[in-house]
């Protein structure tokens, strides 16, 4: 039976971690699948690790793996760190802030099995995918950024920056050795390199719930950083 590891990098997720864990556990148990969650916590000052330990006592230490780190060291290295302890055949990366709902995981898994895909990504932009909480300006920026990256890089996927993905473990390990960028660009680089390796990529439409709590700001620095990132990926 295939086993699925969910990598959850956390920083100050004391409030969200138990809930997202419950939802992931519920989804996997209902679908009768073998699973584990790897919590990679970057020394959260709010007590996220204590919460993770409590969850271990509820779900078992074989289901909730806690792999802490000494400080805020970034997403890419968090995945690398988490991968070392993951015992699943497949690895899922997702956000812990409820923008990605675990209820889609059985669809990801089913599609992966049907097509033997190396990667399955959640798309906000194709088929019945969508978003909650985006005004017109946000849609323009996000769709614009996606169109720019898709056109320049020729990635052939509908959602280049999405971070709700399932990978074959070997595929993720291979890509993580090569990827060097951070943030949005990291997710794009994963896809760009996956294309170079000719990995097969399937897509599942998802509803992305943005910013359940609070507002996000997009500054000029972010925009310039994004453009530089896309440009750098032309030369990989």
């Amino acid at each position: 039976m295939s086993k699925y590891s969910v990598l959850l990098p956390t920083y100050n997720e004391k409030r969200n971690l138990p809930i997202i864990t419950y939802l992931i556990a519920r989804t996997f148990e209902q679908a009768n699948l073998s699973w584990e969650i790897v919590v990679i916590d970057d020394a959260s000052p709010d007590g996220t690790q204590e919460v993770a330990k409590e969850l271990q006592s509820i779900y078992g230490e074989d289901k909730i793996l806690l792999k802490p780190r000494a400080g805020k060291l970034g997403l890419g290295t968090a995945y690398i760190h988490g991968l070392k302890s993951a015992t699943g055949d497949y690895v899922i990366i997702m956000d812990a802030d409820f923008s990605h709902h675990p209820k889609y995981l059985p669809e990801f898994i089913k599609l992966q099995k049907e097509g033997n895909y190396d990667i399955v990504l959640g798309t906000r932009y194709a088929k019945d995918g969508g978003v909650y909480g985006w005004n017109l300006k946000r849609k323009l920026i996000s769709r614009g950024a996606n169109l720019l990256a898709s056109t320049v890089l020729g990635t052939g996927v509908s959602d280049v920056t999405g971070s709700f993905r399932l990978y074959k473990k070997q595929v993720l390990e291979t890509l993580m050795k090569e990827v060097t960028s951070k943030g949005y660009v990291f997710q794009m680089e994963m896809i760009a390199r996956a294309r170079q390796h000719n990995y097969s990529i399937g897509e599942v439409p998802i509803a992305f719930v943005d910013r359940l709590y609070g507002e996000s700001k997009l500054g000029m620095d972010d925009i310039i950083g994004y453009l530089k990132g896309v440009l750098s990926l032309v030369f990989i």
Partner: protein, 90 residues
């Protein structure tokens, strides 16, 4: 092949196409239009991107139900965790 190599290849192919138009005798107005074809191409491509962007924005689906379902799921999670002896913050 790297992406940059592909981009250069596209550029070279388009340039060849452009030059090929000069191998033929053409009538007006097509004949004097030839030097402008690169600019017309850029204009056409830019317009295509612009229209695609507007279309994409217009067809980005809103999912209000997803928010409702999520709020319910969070409530269910909080209740379930409470029964397992876990204290969650509201």
């Amino acid at each position: 092949m790297q992406r940059i190599q592909k981009i250069i290849l596209y550029y070279v192919l388009l340039t060849i196409l452009y030059r090929v138009t000069y191998l033929f005798d053409l009538e007006e107005p097509w004949s004097s239009l030839r030097p402008y074809t690169p600019y017309l191409f850029i204009l056409a491509f830019g317009s295509y991107l612009g229209v695609t962007l507007l279309y994409n924005v217009a067809t980005t689906h809103d999912k209000p139900q997803a928010y409702v379902d999520l709020v319910n799921d969070i409530k269910e999670a909080q209740d379930a965790l409470k029964t397992k002896g876990f204290v969650t913050e509201e």
